[in-house]
Amino acid sequence: MATVTQTSKFSKIAWPTLAWIVALIFFFPIFWLVFTSFKTDADAVNPEFLWRFTPTLENYTSMTDNYDYWRFATNSVITSFFATLFALVVGVPAAYAMAFNPSRHTKDILMWMLSTKMLPAAAVLYPMTFLTKNILGIYDTHFLVIVVLCLINLPIAVWMLFTYFKEIPKEIIEAGKMDGVSTWGEIKDILIPLAWGGIASTALLTFIFCWNEAYWTVRLTTIDAATLSTLIEGNRAPEGLFFGRLSAVSTAAIAPIVVLGWFCQKQLVAGLTFGAVK
């Protein structure tokens, strides 16, 4: 018996400590990014000031001059917001129909939607450039970025919504039908209030994916509609000359989303596993 108590005492301290160490290791790169952002460019590469240095806000105050941060940030907010909105406007009715009036083909349609996510974006890179530049004339516009972000996230949005809607008892919707409520009324007055949490998590996750998207936003924009991904990628390798200011602008680019992510990490699991893991 003595050994059992001993091991459990040991494991009471050792495992939590190890868990903390692992968590700190994983968080360290983000910490280091934020930490470096308070150093001047010269201090950032000087081993003498690795830990002890005079913190400065200079990198943040000169961010507008150095990188034109706010223009890119505004573009990110506009495009991610409207792409999310449109994905919901198109996705909610579709998921509603699939969850409450499933047909023989519903499963196949859902699977097919997911399979469109597997289509490698690079395969259609040139046709997209060609279409939007030479034929439609919408290259480097907010409209284009919004449409593309909406479409690449639509499959996941529909899937997530479908999972959440499926958990609402059918009887509630059918009771509404009996009372002669119109379909629009059903969606507006019964479905949306009931599935509010699910719709909100879908919106949050879609917004995060839109904000972080780094293929189409970089390839289909130059200046006018360029988002934060484009900004960071454009300043990728200054060979250590600008570590301080690069850290500051990177911190500013990820901070809103990381904080948003902290609040929705629980819903993330249900959403990304399509309700299969609970």
Binding site: W15, P29, M98, L119, A123, Y126, F243, S250, V277
Partner: protein, 312 residues
């Protein structure tokens, strides 16, 4: 209106939009892959506009298959995706089991752990390759310098100094080289996606049947055999989902490759397509079709494996 029509109408916009999004550019890619089409050519200006009269048949495909970079790109794509999957699943399992107990500050540990998942890929690349992995100015360079100083200092010791003076200087690794940059990409993407695996495995672990485990303990089963025989099968479905979602995202991995390996000869399929697309659209399109075929092979396999469990 019948019972059937309305649901169909509600689904139509989503289905139609995705159909157009998938078919229009893809059929153009298919068309371009069969013709001679370049963006700039002073010798053959007629090739700079897409036209059926420039028909090349399977010539572009042959050209791509014989290009020295193609197989490098294919094997690199597969290598990068499989390594990331292996690392994230194994590491994710270990960490999930580790934090699946109550201890002080568990909530904070969760928040710290999940944070990398929300970092945008461009920042991920810039942060790792500059601030952390740079052989001179990054933390790697500083760490290597520190170790060398330490060894140097030990050389002055009596007796032991002789032993240390036989040690070579530690050389920092440049992760921008052709051979090492995929390692850097794997490292940074695994850092970002391990938290995702942890989160999902942890959720799944919480629904594990504890009474089964207690019975196993009473029967004298070791912790390891409990893990292999009870926990891992219980996690089967979530492992499958983690593999599927990650394959979707990593097959089209681009920002990290672009940031780490720009111009150093290391590439995956999306990057190779981008290179061809600077001028040779025919070759870029043929490579694109190969990428679609590769993705489809993987997709069919994965959707077969995972699709069923998702629908239950």
């Amino acid at each position: 209106m019948s019972n059937r029509t309305l649901p169909r109408i509600l689904q139509t916009p989503a289905v139609l939009l995705l159909l157009v999004w998938m078919l229009v550019p893809l059929s153009m890619t298919l068309y371009f892959s069969f013709i001679r089409y370049v963006l700039n050519s002073t010798i053959r200006p007629e090739w700079t506009t897409p036209s059926l009269s420039n028909w090349r048949g399977l010539g572009n495909y042959k050209y791509v298959l014989e290009a020295k970079d193609f197989w490098l790109a294919v094997s690199n794509s597969v290598f990068i995706v499989t390594s990331i999957l292996l690392i994230t699943v194994i590491l994710g399992l270990c960490i999930a089991v580790l934090i699946n107990r109550s201890f002080p500050g568990r909530g904070i540990v969760r928040v710290l752990l999940i944070s990398p998942f929300f970092v945008m890929p461009a920042v991920n690349g810039v942060l790792w390759i500059n601030m952390i992995l740079d052989p001179v100015l990054g933390l790697q360079g500083l760490a290597v310098g520190g170790i060398n100083d330490l060894i140097d200092g030990m050389r002055d010791f009596p007796v032991l100094g002789h032993f240390f003076s036989m040690w070579p200087q530690v050389q920092p690794i440049s992760f921008r080289g052709t051979n090492t940059s995929s390692i850097a990409v794997i490292m940074m993407v695994a850092w970002q996606w391990t938290p995702f695996a942890v989160l999902i495995f942890m959720t799944s672990l919480q629904s594990e049947d504890e009474s089964q485990k207690e019975a196993a303990t009473l029967d004298g089963a070791s912790a390891w055999s409990q893990f292999i025989n009870l926990t891992v099968p219980h996690l089967g479905r979530s492992i499958a989902i983690v593999v599927m979602i990650q394959s979707i995202f990593h097959l089209s991995l681009y920002a990290e490759i672009e940031i780490v390996s720009r111009g150093n000869g290391n590439k995956n399929l999306p990057y190779l397509i981008g290179e061809f697309a600077n001028n040779n659209i025919g070759a870029a399109s043929a490579t694109g079709i190969f990428a679609v075929i590769l993705a489809n092979i993987i997709a069919i396999f994965l959707l077969r494996m995972v699709g069923k469990t998702l629908m239950d």
